[in-house]
Every structure is written in C-alpha cells, then in structure tokens.
C-alpha cells in the first residue's frame, strides 16, 4: 500500500506519512463512538503490520477528539446486556492492542474528549492536548460507569485517588488541570495538536532503528504484562540481539 493512502475501518480513517500512522476518528461533528468496537481489529492489525511504523497518532477529525459513546445505542440495548458485554470486550481488545503496540503512540487531543473518546486516548503512551481541550469521564452523571477500561487505565496514569475523584464526579477537566495531574503530557496552542504530535514522535525516534524502538517499548510493556522473570529474560535477549545485529 502506498504512503499517504487513506483507508477506512469502522469510524476510523487510517493513513501513514513518513513512517507515522494517523488514525482519525471521523463520525460527524462530535465524533461519537457509535459502538465500542469502533473499528475492525484484524484489519487494523494488518494495516499496522504493513506500514512498518515508528509511531501512531490517534486524533479526531475536525474540532473535537470525540464526545464519547452514543448514549442512544446504550439505551437501545438496556435489555440486551449480552450484546453490550460482547461489544465492550471487542472494544477493549482494540484498545489493549493499541496499548501494547511496540511503537510510540500519541493521542492528539483537541476540543472535547469525553467518555469512550478519552478511554481511547488513555490507550496511548502519550496525550498532547490543545489549550481548549476539555476532558472527562462523565458516565457516572448518567447512572453508568466507564466501560472501555477507563477505570483501569486512568488510575495507572494519574493515580488511584485522583482517578476515583474524576470518575465518580464525572467533572470536566481543562487542559491546564489535565497537564498538572499528568493526564496530558503536553499542552499546545489551538489547532497545533496534530503537528505537535508528529514532531513529538519524530524527536523521540530520531536516529533510532525500528528494532531499537520496538525492543525498548516491548520490554517496557513486558514489565506490566509479563511476570518479572520472563520480562527480565526477554530484555536480555533483546539486548543481545541489538548488540549482534546493530551498529554498535
């Protein structure tokens, strides 16, 4: 597939420019996440595999990152919770895949980033937001709770007590506060989120080989997902391979 070619999966448009993938949520002005499994995971995996990316940016087309889930879809399935559980499981599989990608991942946030939209952003390693960004997990205000692992990933990023406060209150957080609590890694002027995310990745990966990037991120991921002994052994193997095959 040629560089720059845009393809669509679910509500997400995918394109690759200079070894950086861009996944844009594209669903009306508010970029609502119409269903938890918002794109085809197998299709996405295959696209990622083909592109040989050093980084991936997830963003929202237009003014906002995403206003979150479509409440009407949730209400329509009030008595069909098996469907909801299955769809949430598939959605979580997409986000877990993004979370464990061995490349640099950045959510480029502008405007509103609520609910399922924020849960998608939380699956990235970094979040860059514009000065006008507003973030929230507002599900508790309508009698439910986050369902795409927001209660699991948020405390890992901002700490348990702040996460519980933010989720139970459902309150909105502006960019300045989000940066202060570690929810955003960088705040940039309006409309600069995408170019800043690209620059952030380019600066981080410059003069590093694909193998170095993949090994470093995979090893850090292993520290969370694998038992200590396995993570330690894998790191040793990766180190040896880089020495053997690298330019040292």
């Amino acid at each position: 597939m040629a560089d720059n070619e845009k393809i669509k999966s679910g509500i997400v448009w995918l394109e690759a420019v200079d070894n950086i993938g861009i996944a844009s949520i594209h669903n009306g002005i508010q970029n609502k996440i119409s269903q938890p499994d918002f794109m085809d995971l197998e299709f996405f995996k295959e696209w990622i595999y083909r592109q040989k990316l050093k980084g991936l940016i997830i963003t929202g087309q237009g003014r906002h990152f995403s206003a979150g889930a479509d409440i009407d879809t949730i209400k329509a399935n009030k008595h069909n919770t098996d469907y909801l559980k299955d769809a949430l499981k598939k959605g979580k599989e997409i986000l877990s895949y993004i979370e464990t990608l061995p490349i640099v991942t950045v959510a480029a946030v502008s405007g509103v980033c609520f609910g399922a939209g924020l849960e998608i952003a939380l699956s990235c390693q970094f979040r860059i937001g514009t000065e006008n960004s507003v973030l929230a997990l507002p599900e508790a205000n309508i009698g439910i709770m986050p369902g795409l692992a927001g209660t699991i990933r948020l405390p890992r990023i901002i700490g348990k007590s702040k996460a519980i406060q933010m989720i139970i209150s459902g309150r909105t957080i502006n960019a300045e506060e989000a940066f202060g609590m570690g929810l955003l890694d960088k705040v940039v002027p309006a409309k600069m989120h995408l170019s800043s995310a690209k620059q952030y990745i380019e600066e981080l990966v410059q003069n590093k080989s694909h193998q170095q990037i993949n090994s470093i991120i995979q090893s850090v991921n292993n520290s969370i997902t694998e038992i200590n002994e396995t993570a330690m052994n894998t790191e040793g193997n990766m180190f040896a391979k880089l020495v053997e095959e690298g330019e040292i």
């Binding site: 003014r63 906002h64 006008n132 507003v134 929230a136 459902g170 309150r171 909105t172 300045e176």
Partner: protein, 102 residues
C-alpha cells in the same frame, strides 16, 4: 449572588465573541447577537462546553457542566446573544443557575 458589573459584562462579551471568531474561523465583524451558532457558524453544543471551561478558568468560577447542562435543556442558547445572556447568569448564580425558572 455574584455582582455583574459593567466591566465584567464587557469582559464576558468580548471573551465570547473572541471565542466564536477563533473556534469557527470567522472575522469578529461577521458576528452579532443574532448569529446562530449551529446554522450560521456550523457549530455545535460542544462549543458551549469549551466556552464554559474557558469562563471557569478566566473568571475563577466553581461551576459544574452538569448543572449548566440542566439549565440549558430548559433554556437553550442558540444565538450569540443568548449565549451571552446565559453566561451572565452563570457568572451571577454559578451552580444555582439550575434553580432559576425557565
């Protein structure tokens, strides 16, 4: 109830016009109190969310979006003039705006 001085009214008005001009990429001269946010500016209700956050930050207001949302359900703000009037009420009443009559 917080006092809404002429100076504060002017600051709020200026902030609101500036916000819509920047967000909707239009000249300030193209905006007036009759400008409809959806029809004329291709805007949406989420713009109000951003505006509330901006107001909270700029004027150190302790207000919850949820309460403002309840008020707006009964009293929609569709034009810039209506947004300005609502923002005046938010400044004056804070979260108590929800107790004001429709």
């Amino acid at each position: 109830m917080r006092e809404l001085t002429a100076e504060i009214r002017e600051q709020l008005k200026e902030m609101i016009y500036g916000f819509f001009a920047e967000e909707c990429e239009v000249e300030l001269s193209e905006l007036n109190e009759e400008t409809n946010i959806t029809d004329d500016l291709d805007g949406d209700s989420l713009l109000f969310v951003e505006l509330i956050e901006l107001t909270k930050k700029k004027f150190q207001l302790d207000i919850q979006l949820q309460t403002i949302g309840k008020y707006l359900l009964k009293n929609p703000a569709e034009t810039i003039g209506q947004v300005i009037d609502t923002t005046y009420l938010i400044y004056q009443h804070g979260n108590d705006i929800v107790n004001l009559g429709a």
